[in-house]
Amino acid sequence: MTVIRAAIGELVGMFIDDGALALAAAILIGLVAVGVKSAGLPPLAGALVLLAGCLLILIESAHRAARKRRG
C-alpha cells in the first residue's frame, strides 16, 4: 500500500510542484481551447497565446519562489 501511495504521489508530483503554476497553466490551456473551438479564435493565434501565457506563468512563478526564499 505504501508503495502504491508513493507511486501515486510520484505521478501527481511529476506535474504539480507549484500549485499556482499548475492551476494557471491548466486555466490558460482551457481558455485557449475554448477560444479556438467555440469562439472562433484562429488556431495559430491560440497556440501563440498559449506560448506567451506559459512564459508569463513561468516568469511569475519563478519570481514568486525567489521572493519567498529571499525572505
Partner: protein, 251 residues
Amino acid sequence: MSNIPTISSTITASFLASLVEVVEAFTIILAVGLTRGWRPAFAGTILALVVLAAIVIVLGPLLGLVPVEWLRLAIGTLLILFGLRWLRKAILRAAGFIPLHDEEAAFASETSLLKQQAADRRADYLAGLAAFKAVLLEGIEVVFIVIAVGAGRGLIVYAGLGALAACALVVVVGLFVHRPLSRVPENTLKFIVGLMLSSFGIFWMGEGLGAEWPGQDWSLVGIFAVFAITALALVRVLRGYSAPSARVASS
C-alpha cells in the same frame, strides 16, 4: 509526417530526461548493492521492471483507442505541466535559490538507512524494497516521458530507444565507476529537458487545436529558442535578487 527535427528531438528529449531519472535510480540500487548485497538490489530492480512492463503492456494499447487530436491535447497539457515544473526548478537552482540535487548525499543517506536496518531480520527484504521503489518510481517517470514525447506522432519506438540508450549508458558507466554518478551535470540536463518538454507541449497543443505551425516541425526549434532565451534571462535576473548569504552553489 515526422521528419529529422522531430525524430532527433524526440530521441534527444527521451534520452536526456530518462538519463536524469535512471541516474537517481542507479544511486539507490548502488547503495543497496554495496551495503546489503547485489541479490536484494537485483531482485528489487527486476521486480520493478516487471511491474513497469506490465503497466506498459496494459495501458499501451489503450492509447490507440484515443482519437489523435484528443491524445495530442491531453499529452500536450501534461507535457506543459511537466516541462514547466522541471524548468522552473532548474531556473531556481541555476539562480541559487534551491540547492542542486546531490547524488553523493542521496547515496550516503540511503547507505546510512540500510546500515541502520542491518540488524533487522527483514534487512534483505527492506533493501530489496528500497531498490524496487526507486526503480518503480523513477521508471514511471521514464514511461511517461517515452509516451509523452512519442505517442503524439507515432514515435514511441524512437522515444523508447532514447530511454533504453540512457539506461544502457548509466549501467555501463556505473559498472566501471562503481560509485554515485555525481559528476552528471544534473541541473543542466533538467534545464534542457524542461525546455524541450515545454516546447513539445506547446507544439502538440497547437497541433491538437488545429494550428498549422509555420515551417511545420521546424517551428519546434523556434519555440525552444523562445523558451531558452526567456529562461536564461530569468536566471540572470533572479541571480541579481539573491543576497550573498542566501546563495547556494549554482551550476
